[in-house]
């Protein structure tokens, strides 16, 4: 059976995962292990007048209690946002200071004020209860529109009116003129609900300071350990990079929430030095709700103008994005360059203007969560298209098709240049697979059972393969977004691939090995993927933004090109042939058209014995490469959702969900389908179940699985997943990325289906039975 590109290879990593042998951060136990618990603010906004830790420190087994004054006193720097966004008037964003442990003020429920180090985890938690903090409560604000209101409580002094920046993209005047001349204008107000990421493995950190070597080791639940080390060194001044090793071992899901460098890792590293103990902290689920960066939380108004033939003439969007109490690592980029740049959707639109105001509130920081900006853009676009079709009495599929971009490359008015796609092919494939022509009969049959059946479309596009370094640099990114790889052929011919990508559920150990097995025609078992350790992999940018295939694998391909060239040189020398005649196949390196051949392992051995190499060749067989993408990649597709609503209760079943995706080249269809399944589950979760709720005082009131509804198997249909692909012209494998598409494309398909079923468009996410029932009642 083939194990190369396109093969459904079962996952190499699953043996350890399904037998309970995975090694996660919390599994790490060092000598001299101590445990940390954080003292966290129960108030959304308060001055810290004093901290009395005497009772805690006096407890047997409590090693120390450390606070923010000590932390900043030791020179530990403030937490940064890594992407500078300017307001439309040219002024820089108003970033407030964020110390890993609050010094004089707390700004959200969960803001840490002290770290307790004790001999056991239980003791640390009990001692944390004994720390008395004198809070002077201040008025708080949780909702983004209220934060912008006159007289709202100020979260940070240097962000007047809580406005972080007032950003725009596109041409305002031209768009206004286009809308003024439109034959029809569709208007909607839309809310993109705040979500909690809920990775299966909670965040954790184990920090160890080696006094003799003046060296730190940090095990942490990170999607990008190298970026963590860079930021911990350069900005937080924990230790210089050569004195800090960061290891992200097995990580149980991230969805973006493990990109960022959080206060806990910083505090644990610093505390390990202060106490000269190895310090371990592991979040519990309740703590995760108030410390893991949340996602989404946009409110938008949008206007889309059409000419008499249904051609879009202009789109104007005004968005307020809630960034929470502090600016997390990529928070500024998510509602701007990852959102507003996708507001052309799959459509050829000449005039687009989007204004985005981001605001501080007394809530958990908001940052990238699966899709990061693109789900919000897709929700605006696809709710608008479906609504416009209904208003104009047009078929929603045909309205989309009539506006699709047909020719590539296509430059949108909002920066992005789409490189390839066949949007109509995906729409057609999805409609056929969903048997759209039979929908009327299904609706009629559902009615006999008292159910309202509805159908909804979503034709999404996203930008991933993040990202061309020079382009993002010009937009304010603080780092380049290339990737690195090193391919090491051992003397016995087995291969280790070191990658800067990080796998936390994506199956890289399998898919990355597939492209190596294919290239060198070797058993996949002979290939090992190494990642997640700054002592092993020199540098890398990690995994997020569906970048590992398009950027990470491309770096591996570049390194393999170099290995292949050297292998051919060695073989040509040994076999006394021309390099151009050397072929690699079947575990051998051969001279084409002859019976002269060396075993693959013999080439490896030759490279390391160096007994007979070309005169100018260095020994060894190890090549590295850095790959910087030329463009984003643009996965796209159409999702069609069918629902049945019980009008008496509002209870809604997703009865059919069909996906047609264009992910470019597919390395492992089984893994890709798994990614799509998971993404759609999260999208249906957002559309129908999930929402973080804050009360007016800034208290998060649904911080457990009793009150925060996660999607479960019984909430989800048997998906019908299909592919109609075009090749990405901008990377060597032609891949586009598949990690986020499901979560990006599905929410509008679900809401479009439910609103179709109930005959009223006024329905916000999450469409709980109560919300659906209320919408039905309001429309009566």
């Amino acid at each position: 059976m083939s194990t190369g590109i396109g093969a459904r290879v079962t996952r190499k990593e699953d043996k350890r995962f399904i037998t309970g042998k995975g090694k996660y951060t919390d599994d790490v136990r060092t000598e001299n292990q101590a445990y940390a618990a954080f003292v966290r603010s129960p108030h959304a906004h308060a001055n810290v007048k004093g901290i009395d830790a005497s009772a805690a420190v006096a407890m047997d087994g409590v090693i120390d209690v450390l606070n923010g004054q000590q932390l900043t006193g030791d020179g530990i720097g403030n937490i940064i946002c890594g992407w500078a966004i300017s307001s439309k008037d040219g002024s820089p964003m108003n970033m407030g200071a964020w110390s890993a442990l609050a010094t004089d003020k707390v700004r959200y429920v969960g803001d840490a004020v002290a770290i307790v180090i004790a001999e056991t985890q239980a003791l640390a938690r009990i001692a944390a209860e004994m720390v008395e903090v004198d809070y002077e409560e201040l008025p708080a604000v949780a909702a983004s529109d209220k934060a912008l209101a006159d007289g709202a409580p100020q979260v940070h002094e240097n962000a007047p009116g809580n406005l972080i920046y007032d950003f725009e993209i596109g041409e305002a005047d031209a768009t206004d003129a286009a809308l003024a001349g439109a034959a029809h204008v569709t208007e909607l107000s839309l809310t993109n609900n705040r979500l909690s990421p809920n990775a299966m493995e909670p965040r954790s950190a184990v920090a160890t300071f080696d006094e003799a070597e003046d060296h730190y080791t940090l095990y942490t639940t990170s999607q990008n350990p190298h970026l963590a080390r860079l930021v911990l060194s350069a900005f937080y001044q924990v230790a210089p990079e050569h004195k800090l090793r960061v290891i992200a071992p097995d990580v149980g899901g991230g969805f973006g929430s493990k990109i960022f460098i959080y206060p806990e890792e910083i505090a644990c590293l610093w505390a390990s030095m202060k106490t000269n103990r190895s310090v371990k902290w592991t979040s519990d689920r309740s703590e995760a709700f108030i410390t893991d960066a949340h996602g989404r939380d946009h409110i938008s108004t949008a206007k889309m103008g059409f000419d008499a033939n249904g051609k879009i003439v202009g789109l104007k969007v005004d968005t307020i994005a809630n960034l929470g109490a502090y600016m997390s690592l990529f928070s500024s980029a998510v509602p701007t360059y990852l959102y507003a740049t996708l507001l052309s959707g799959q459509y050829d639109i000449s005039n687009i203007h989007c204004n985005v105001r981001t605001v501080y509130t007394n809530t958990v920081p908001v940052d990238a969560y699966r899709g990061a900006g693109r789900p919000e853009a897709c929700f605006v676009m696809e709710r608008m298209m479906e609504t416009a079709a209904r208003e104009m009495g047009m078929d929603p599929a045909e309205l989309r098709r009539a506006n699709f971009v047909q020719e590539f490359p296509h430059q949108t008015p909002v920066i992005m240049a789409y490189d390839a796609g066949d949007f109509s092919a995906n729409l057609t494939q999805a409609m056929e697979a969903a048997n759209v022509s039979g929908f009327a009969a299904r609706k009629e049959e559902a009615a006999t059972r008292g159910k309202l059946r509805g159908i909804g479309y979503s034709s999404y596009i996203e930008a991933c393969g993040i990202a061309p370094s020079a382009a993002v640099g010009s937009l304010g990114a603080g780092v380049g977004l290339w990737e690195s790889a090193e391919v090491r052929v051992n003397p016995v011919g087995t291969i280790e691939v070191l990658t800067g990508s990080h796998s936390h559920g994506q199956g890289h150990e399998t898919t990355f090995a597939q492209i190596v097995a294919e290239r060198f025609d070797l058993p996949i078992e002979n290939v090992q993927i190494v990642h997640g350790d700054t002592d092993k992999v020199q540098f890398g940018m990690g995994t997020y933004g569906s970048r590992s295939a398009a950027v990470g694998m491309s770096a591996i391909v570049k390194a393999m090109d170099k290995v292949e060239a050297k292998v051919k040189k060695i073989a040509a020398h040994v076999l006394e042939a021309s390099e151009d005649d050397i072929v690699i196949e079947g575990g051998e390196v051969k001279v084409a058209g002859t019976d002269k051949a060396m075993g693959w392992h013999e080439v490896g051995l030759s490279a390391y014995t160096a007994h007979n190499l070309p005169p100018d060749m260095e020994p060894g067989l190890k090549e590295g490469a850095f790959y910087d993408p030329a463009n984003f990649t643009f996965p796209a597709g159409t999702y069609i959702c069918e629902v049945e609503v019980d009008p008496e209760t509002g209870a809604t079943d997703v009865v059919q969900f069909t996906a047609s995706d264009d992910f470019g080249t597919i390395i492992n269809p089984m893994i890709v389908e798994g990614q799509v399944h998971g993404g759609i589950a999260q999208g249906i979760g957002q559309a129908m179940l999930e929402q973080v709720v804050y009360d007016d005082d800034g208290q998060l009131i649904n911080g457990s699985y009793m009150d925060y509804a996660m999607p479960r198997a019984a909430d989800l249909p048997d998906y019908s997943v299909h592919h109609a692909s075009t090749t990405c012209p901008n990377n060597p494998l032609g891949v586009k990325g598949c990690g986020e598409a499901g979560a990006i494309g599905s929410p509008p398909a679900v809401i479009n289906a439910i609103t179709d079923a109930i005959g009223t468009n006024n329905l916000a996410m999450p469409a709980t039975p109560q919300a659906v029932w209320n919408a039905i009642q309001a429309a009566m």
Binding site: R40, V109, E129, D695, N702, G703, S704, D707
Partner: protein, 152 residues
């Protein structure tokens, strides 16, 4: 949510008023009250154990008497820190009126929680607060009208 209630107590308004200002009576009547100590004519400190939803916490709190219009009305306010469980705050406006030698006690109470209590117990806070307020005034009524004071 505002909770309201009304009790008819067979005692004079002066007796009821005195009891409302008696630390020992408050200790017996506040559900879960383990300690209470007067720190001034209008302030007290207290330790109260309460279970709200899945969270049981001991609150170190302060009680204040405000808006005193003896013997007709006052506002009693309590605020407690429950460690990592968060905090709880509550208060009641209490008015006393005379009717045929007996006293009509009316109250309007509200409660608020923060931190873990809010995160895990918000669904239950209104019900719990109502239970606590009702229990307090039930206890208070029984204390003034029954032989056996509550808590025995």
């Amino acid at each position: 949510m505002d909770m309201t209630g009304s009790y008819r107590i067979s005692a004079t308004r002066e007796t009821v008023w005195a009891a409302l200002n008696d630390v020992e009576v408050l200790k017996l009547c506040i559900p879960g009250c383990e300690e209470i100590e007067r720190t001034s004519p209008t302030t007290m400190t207290a330790k109260v154990v309460q279970k709200i939803g899945p969270v049981k916490a001991k609150f170190d709190g302060a009680i204040k008497l405000l808006n005193i219009d003896a013997p007709a009305s006052y506002t009693i306010k309590g605020e407690g820190q429950g460690g990592v469980a968060g905090f709880a705050k509550g208060g009641a406006d209490v008015t006393l009126s005379e009717e045929e030698g007996e006293t009509i006690l009316e109250f309007t109470a509200k409660a608020q929680v923060g931190g873990k209590l809010a995160r895990l117990g918000s669904r239950l806070i209104d019900a719990t607060a109502k239970k606590v307020a009702t229990k307090f005034f039930d206890n208070f009524h029984d204390h003034l009208t029954d032989k056996d004071p509550p808590g025995n």
